[in-house]
Symmetry: C2
DNA sequence: GCTTTTGGTCGTCACTTGACGACAAAATAT
DNA sequence: ATATTTTGTCGTCAAGTGACGACCAAAAGC
């Protein structure tokens, strides 16, 4: 257990480290860097082994003593909260909202480009696993902020689509959400089965996005009409 | 900890138990029943608290001593495997495949009825949480059997839709899977955000299913065409 | 009745696991 | 060089935590 970090640390200083760090850069980093390194390692670590994984193994993965973690984060819970804030909440980019509302491009292109980015920057393995672990473990950790961000996104998507297609939307905002989820859920679920179920999709990511977007666009008008018709 | 089960057990036999059991039916069940009761309780328990939850608390929830669990299941792992087999793999019903292929009804009706059932019997809170916990914790636990079942389902759905619409499908089976996932993922993701993110959907379940199915059907033809066009 | 079987509990062992006090050593200041 | 601050480790405590041997008591067989 300790053997690995020992071995790295005990090397005489004439060796400038052939195997690169990120884990166990021998010793003595300034506060900010060490904290950042721990956070980075913790992200991968908890994404892999779950939020119940042990601090001793995390320390090992960081190449530092377990005790050191407690200098930077008072408790494990605080560490988890920091990881969550930085990696989960930090992944959303405001630009996306602006780009999605840039009507000089057709909606199909905007949606396709957005979801390409979104799959890379948000719905990757690390983010997804952390988000699911957090959602499963602690009810309030995941949904609150995220859902408010996502809901704005859904409204934008639906409104932009409706504008381009000249469709009049119902007033009920939750209906708009539900419509938006049709697309967003499709793609989120694609990410889930890819990264979680490891179901090997033979189709490349781009094609899946294109297909989902077109299915959404093709079914948009009937979907809106359908909702209006079936309104009690 | 022990207090609750003690209190129940120590009651004199003149009281026929006002609070009903399932947890802690005083004592002495035949083997099969006790095993079943433990399995039932364990399902709810692990669905709530995750696969890393402790056997002592499970025993408490069952109203029996922790030691007793080990009479029925050699290790915690075995218990988890039993829960998984019974609750996750056992939820799929063969009838669904038959009903989905009953061409005397329109596809829209078949799909709508099927997903209503599926949401109730499979994609409920308990099943979903267990499945996600299992998928996150152990790579091989979830995907194998499930994915083979689901993939058959996806092919059936797509083929039935194509048949009704007179659409010719590509030969590539994974393309069919991907098309089917557009619908199945939409609904699965609806269940996830409902039971996991606790996002309160104002629309009733039936309407969401109807909307997803119609969106899928409306976009089906373009989707197939699109795939054929973009085939390299 | 008495014995045997079987469903159930108590107490405990060995190992984890979060947390932290005490101390060492590298940087930095003086 | 010497003192001080900062970064890091060792060792340990207390509370879990899976597993199990030893034992007890309710049914069931005879």
């Amino acid at each position: 257990m300790q053997a690995r970090s020992e071995a790295l640390r005990d090397q005489p200083s004439d060796d400038r480290r052939t195997s690169e760090p990120d884990v166990a850069p021998t010793k003595r980093l300034p506060q900010a860097e060490r904290r950042a390194q721990i956070l980075r390692t913790a992200t991968d670590f908890f994404a892999d082994y779950g939020l119940t994984a042990q601090t001793r193994r995390l320390a090992e993965a960081c190449g530092v003593s377990q005790r050191l973690l407690y200098r930077y984060f008072p408790t494990k819970k605080d560490l988890l909260a920091a990881v969550y804030r930085q990696e989960i909440l930090g992944a959303f980019k405001m630009v996306w909202f602006l780009e999605l509302q840039d009507r000089s491009k057709p909606v199909e292109e905007r949606l396709t480009l957005f979801y390409k980015d979104y799959l890379n920057d948000v719905l990757n393995r690390k983010w997804l696993r952390l988000f699911l672990y957090a959602s499963l473990a602690d009810a309030e950790m995941a949904p609150d902020y995220i859902s408010s961000v996502i809901k704005k996104l859904l409204v934008v998507i639906v409104e932009e689509t409706a504008a381009e297609k000249g469709v009049t939307l119902p007033n009920d905002v939750s209906a708009l959400h539900e419509m938006g989820w049709t697309l967003h859920g499709s793609i989120s679920h694609y990410a889930i089965r890819r990264h979680l179920y490891r179901s090997s999709s033979v189709l490349p990511e781009d094609k899946v996005v294109a297909m989902s977007v077109r299915t959404f666009l093709a079914g948009f008008q009937p979907m809106v009409q359908d909702y209006i018709d079936h309104l009690d």
